[in-house]
């Protein structure tokens, strides 16, 4: 009996997902290899773990103790073997399990990234739509100029300007610091998290804006151009000729299709925002993974760097996998092809 179209679609979807999972696995494996090699390319990390007055003998002993005297492939294989057990080793500086250090700071970074994404998407959507509808008007020109400005500003500069103006001059919001909510919630203290929410939001506003401005500007431009493309399609003309009002045309027909490329970008957006937290966390003294990784890199705390890089890449790949699957669900053309 011939399979139905639905069954063929299901089989194709299964194959597609399987292929994407395999690709994701290869990507993660590649990331572990690259991060491992990159860290070792810049010299012998032993010297970071001995006193500046250490003798040659002490240096040799420390090198052996930390395993830096073993061949790189052996170090890498040992690393991979432990990685599959969730063991990245202990931080060379704090002696705590590296993955524990990453996971205890991850909630702070996710709070920041999540808020930056909300800031970016919720503002980019109306700005992009208005700009597309008012194409060629001063409103459109002004918005696009601001978007270009937003994309041009370095985040560290914007962050410092915000904290100096809003934090120091106006005294509206805290200059730096953090009030945890997600970690409190994960500890099971939901009531405590809700109580801390208003205070947490005060701390979140400036760093979220700092991280989110670039992606807000980019998304607004993307939504605008995507909307313009859709608004020129025949079916939109048809909808208009049938007497559908502007709101109906935009929200029922145009926006749904214009959002497809934006959805694709969301997965990448997460990775982009994560990469932006290093600078922002430093400027606002935000105790997240970005600063942890930055410090670990400068101190050559290899297990922590590896744990963070693998955790980030795993999250990034997983999110993109989900977005790809979601994209297939949203766009029947891809499902059928």
């Amino acid at each position: 009996m011939m399979p139905s179209i639905g069954q063929i679609e299901t089989i194709h979807m299964g194959k597609y997902i399987l292929r994407r999972v395999l690709q994701s696995f290869i990507v993660i494996l590649g990331v572990t290899l690259l991060s491992f090699l990159t860290i070792h390319l810049s010299g012998d990390p032993t010297y970071l773990f001995v006193s500046e007055r250490a003798s040659e003998q002490e240096i040799i002993e420390t090198r052996a103790k930390l395993g830096f005297d073993r061949p790189l492939p052996e170090q890498y294989l040992t690393f991979l073997g432990k990685l599959v057990q969730g063991d990245f080793g202990n931080s060379l500086r704090s002696r705590k399990p590296a993955i524990e250090l990453v996971l205890e700071r991850l909630p702070a970074t996710l709070e920041l990234t999540f808020c930056a994404m909300i800031f970016s998407i919720t503002l980019a959507l109306p700005i992009g739509i208005i700009s597309a509808i008012r194409r060629g008007t001063p409103v459109d020109g002004g918005v696009m100029l601001l978007a270009m400005f937003g994309q041009s500003m370095p985040s560290f500069w914007l962050g410092i300007m915000l904290l100096l103006f809003v934090g120091l001059q106006l005294r509206w919001l805290p200059i730096s610091g953090h009030e945890p909510i997600l970690s409190v919630m994960l500890e099971g203290n939901v009531g405590g998290a809700i109580t801390a929410l208003p205070e947490a939001i005060r701390y979140l506003i400036l760093p979220s804006i700092t991280i989110g401005v670039f992606s807000l500007s980019r998304n607004a431009r993307l939504i605008r151009s995507s909307m313009l493309e859709v608004l020129n399609q025949d079916y939109i003309v048809t909808a208009r000729s049938k007497g559908l009002n502007q709101r109906g045309v935009i929200f029922k027909h145009a926006l749904k299709n214009a959002m497809l490329p934006v959805v694709t970008l969301l997965g990448l957006e997460f990775g982009f925002l994560l990469s932006g937290v290093v600078v922002t966390e430093t400027v606002f003294s935000w105790p997240g993974v970005g600063r942890l990784v930055f410090n670990a890199i400068t101190q050559r705390d290899i297990p922590v760097v590896q744990a963070a890089v693998v955790t980030f890449s795993f999250m990034f790949v997983l999110l993109n996998l989900l977005v790809d699957i979601l994209y297939v669900q949203l766009d029947p053309r891809i499902r059928l092809s």
């Binding site: 810049s42 010299g43 012998d44 990390p45 032993t46 010297y47 970071l48 773990f49 001995v50 006193s51 500046e52 007055r53 250490a54 003798s55 040659e56 002490e58 240096i59 420390t62 103790k65 202990n90 931080s91 500086r93 704090s94 002696r95 705590k96 250090l101 205890e104 700071r105 410092i160 904290l163 100096l164 934090g167 120091l168 106006l170 005294r171 509206w172 919001l173 805290p174 200059i175 730096s176 610091g177 953090h178 005060r202 430093t282 400027v283 606002f284 003294s285 105790p287 997240g288 600063r291 942890l292 410090n295 890199i297 400068t298 101190q299 050559r300």
Partner: protein, 524 residues
């Protein structure tokens, strides 16, 4: 239009109503002191001190046998007195009576011995100041408990009294029972100290909260709580200080000092630090093929270059303060008083270079070389290195500047792979000339980064263990510094100035040696 304007008005009214309620209320009260450092501690293990930021915290949580004051003098702390054996190798300390650790455990001689032995135990694999520097420097061999109040530190050598006492005073004392019951991982998170403050909370990369120990009699404390915040970005630290949210900040950049001084809230305290900043001449043969290596092996050339760099101008323009040029590797007032700093005299530099056999060529260049330097470690380091390179080029030594990020640079300094000239700063002390001179304790010393091999120096250095009086020791120190001055392995620059931002509500003076000792700070 009216509807739009009404909406806008409502938004503005709402903002006006809400914002005052959001106003930051972070200003510390009269019982709380807030200090901001740029880096966090890696852990709270008292036997593993790897940075000044860590030492600053540990010093308030853990007591030491003696305490080093800013002027280099040493005062009793946990110990009341000490005696030295005839051969100078055994030091017996007498403790105060009735000492306790923060958990209530009695602190006796056995605990002091345990603190030393635990830090020394290779099985614990501690790195950092205690195991990596203090113990090798004093030749630590072990301990002996004489009775409840007397403990002997056994070493393998005689040593200058002040130097050894200061080194021993860098070992943090804790109680045996509590630490023996913890794993190393647990101990690194749960410090049980013996100092004036106890740990309440550590939020990594955010803050450490300390609370004054009630009834602590060895030191007076004016503030009930200390917040040691971690604020890595200098501009943010300055903003928090000016906003009144922080009382003390370290490492104020020169370009932001005016903002603090004119704020009316805080002022900048500039101190002549103890860190020796210099340019090292590399003697290691692995640089034999490097440009300028051959010329720099000549004493005459190295002396000539001392006259080529205008150090006071570098300090005034790049470090934002006046500074006196160093005349030796030893911090004042322990240096040789007969040695005058080399003056800036480019004509003399050129004259000496001519005499050394390196006249200017047709293109004006005597020889070419490379000056390596770090970025992000010392005050305005990269710019200072650039300036030095230009000064050297001005006298005909065409200098290519090679600046690396500190993390990468540090990797090269340890194995002595920097040269043929390199910029560096090494920590020093106020209590002993020998402490500063330990950099060159042997031709193969880890801190002899230049691979300097002057036989006179090392021959004289090896006789220091035989000295029988402070006067004799001083004589030898001066002779050593003479050798250093006349056959310089370093291009002597300056002692790094340090800048602290201090709230006007606070009565506290910054120290020269980069320690933030603040238990004695008071409100004005």
């Amino acid at each position: 239009m009216v509807r739009k304007l009404s909406f806008l008005l409502i938004v503005v009214l709402l903002m006006t109503a809400v914002m005052p309620s959001l106003l930051s209320a972070q200003t510390p009260d009269d019982t709380t002191l807030v200090i901001a450092q740029s880096v966090d501690v890696a852990g709270l293990e008292p036997a593993s001190v790897n940075s000044r930021a860590e030492a600053n915290i540990f010093f308030h949580v853990f007591a030491t046998l003696f305490e080093i004051a800013d002027d280099g003098s040493l005062s009793p702390y946990l110990a009341t007195a000490y005696s030295i054996s005839e051969d100078g190798k055994e030091w017996t300390f007498t403790l105060n009576e009735g000492l306790t650790c923060h958990d209530g455990e009695a602190l006796t001689a056995e605990d002091v011995a345990y603190s030393f032995d635990r830090a020394f135990d290779p099985a614990n694999a501690f790195t950092g100041n205690t195991a990596g520097f203090v113990f090798p420097s004093i030749g630590f061999q072990g301990t002996r408990v004489e009775d409840d109040l007397n403990v002997t530190i056994i070493t393998d050598r005689r040593q200058s009294e002040n130097n050894r006492l200061a080194l021993i005073s860098e070992v943090y004392i804790h109680c045996k029972d509590s630490y023996a019951a913890m794993t190393l991982e647990e101990a690194a998170q749960n410090p049980i100290g013996s100092g004036p403050y106890r740990l309440v909370e550590w939020v990594p990369d955010d803050y450490i909260l300390l609370e004054a120990v009630e009834g602590y009699t060895l030191r007076e404390t004016a503030f009930k709580t200390h917040y040691w915040r971690v604020i890595p970005e200098a501009s943010t630290r300055v903003a928090e200080l000016i906003a009144g949210n922080v009382d003390v900040i370290a490492n104020v950049p020169p370009d932001q000092q005016a903002a603090i001084d004119t704020s009316g809230v805080a002022t900048v305290q500039a101190v002549a630090g103890t860190r020796r900043i210099y340019v090292g001449f590399q003697f290691g043969e692995n640089f034999a093929d490097a440009p300028g290596y051959e010329a720099l092996q000549k004493t005459e050339v190295r002396v000539a270059l001392q006259y080529a760099v205008d150090v006071p101008t570098i300090c005034a323009t790049l470090l934002g303060t006046q500074c006196e040029r160093a005349s030796s590797m030893v911090n004042p007032p322990n240096n040789n008083p007969d040695l005058a700093p080399y003056p800036y005299d480019p004509a003399k530099a050129e004259e000496l270079l001519d005499a050394a056999g390196y006249p200017r060529n047709a293109d004006g260049v005597r020889f070419e070389t490379v000056l390596m330097g770090p970025r992000g470690r010392y005050l305005n380091d990269a710019n200072v290195v650039q300036a030095i390179g230009q000064y050297l080029s001005d006298v005909g030594v065409k200098t290519t500047v090679d600046i690396r990020e500190w993390a990468d640079y540090r990797q090269l300094v340890g194995p002595k792979e920097v040269g043929p000239m390199f910029f560096l700063g090494t920590g020093g002390g106020t209590w002993s000339a020998l402490y500063d001179m330990t950099d060159l304790s042997s031709p193969t010393a880890g801190t002899n980064y230049t691979n300097w091999q002057n036989e006179d120096w090392f021959a004289l250095w090896n006789t220091l263990g035989d000295v029988t009086s402070p006067e004799e020791e001083r004589e030898k120190i001066n002779a050593l510094l003479d050798i250093f001055y006349n056959d310089p392995p370093w291009l002597l620059l300056y002692f790094q100035p340090d800048f602290y931002g201090v709230s006007n509500r606070l009565d506290w003076t910054a120290r020269r040696d980069e320690w933030i000792v603040i238990y004695n700070a008071k409100l004005k």
